[in-house]
Symmetry: C2
Subunit: 120 residues, 2 copies
């Protein structure tokens, strides 16, 4: 069973590349920790996969509404998403919803959720 993690970030907020990378890193760590706690089999299979690299895919959406819809879809699919809100100390308004992390999870569950999204 192949596993991967998807991270989806908003591109409509005008974030710079450092800001984007930070939001993606938050989503990756929080989603991984969430799966480690609630589905350790998925987490450790992913951590120690054959490639030696934890497969990740970084995708984009252009609105908060699309991020919310993805969060709901992931939840319904049985993968609790990590939702990232920026503290708003630098470039953004406080509590801006910037990104989500989904998984690691089996591809047969994850791929249908993200099939229409484009790579960042």
């Amino acid at each position: 069973m192949k596993l991967k993690q998807a991270i989806i970030v908003r591109t409509d907020l005008g974030m710079g590349k450092g800001k984007i990378a930070g939001q993606v890193a938050h989503a990756a760590v929080q989603a991984a920790e969430s799966i480690r706690r609630y589905c350790p089999d998925w987490y450790y299979s992913w951590l120690e996969d054959d490639d030696g690299i934890q497969t990740k895919i970084i995708l984009k959406v252009d609105s908060e509404a699309k991020l919310q819809a993805l969060s709901r879809d992931a939840f319904v699919q049985g993968i609790n998403p990590a939702k990232i809100y920026d503290a708003g100390r630098t470039q953004l308004e406080p509590s801006t919803f910037t990104a989500i992390g989904i998984g690691p999870a089996p591809e047969y569950k994850l791929d249908p959720l993200i099939k229409d999204l484009k790579l960042l």
Copy 2:
């Protein structure tokens, strides 16, 4: 004791923002997992810090040599860094050393290592 995680990425490789975000996410997850195993007190203090967000700082260097030097310095300081090598399937040559993650670790240990680096 305030803790944070530093992620340092090379900017001399011509990586796009999606590629950069992916390397940063790999470094964040691998460094966090490494600290969880070898110094769980640091990991859980950081995970549950007062802000509810795991403090991260994303920095840049412009050469492999600087990334290697930082890795050595972190190791000497007692923080085992996560070194990220790209598989080279897309934009880069195989086994390109792209990024490192350091910590979460106490700021008094981490800050001296990164004081001369610029934000990504």
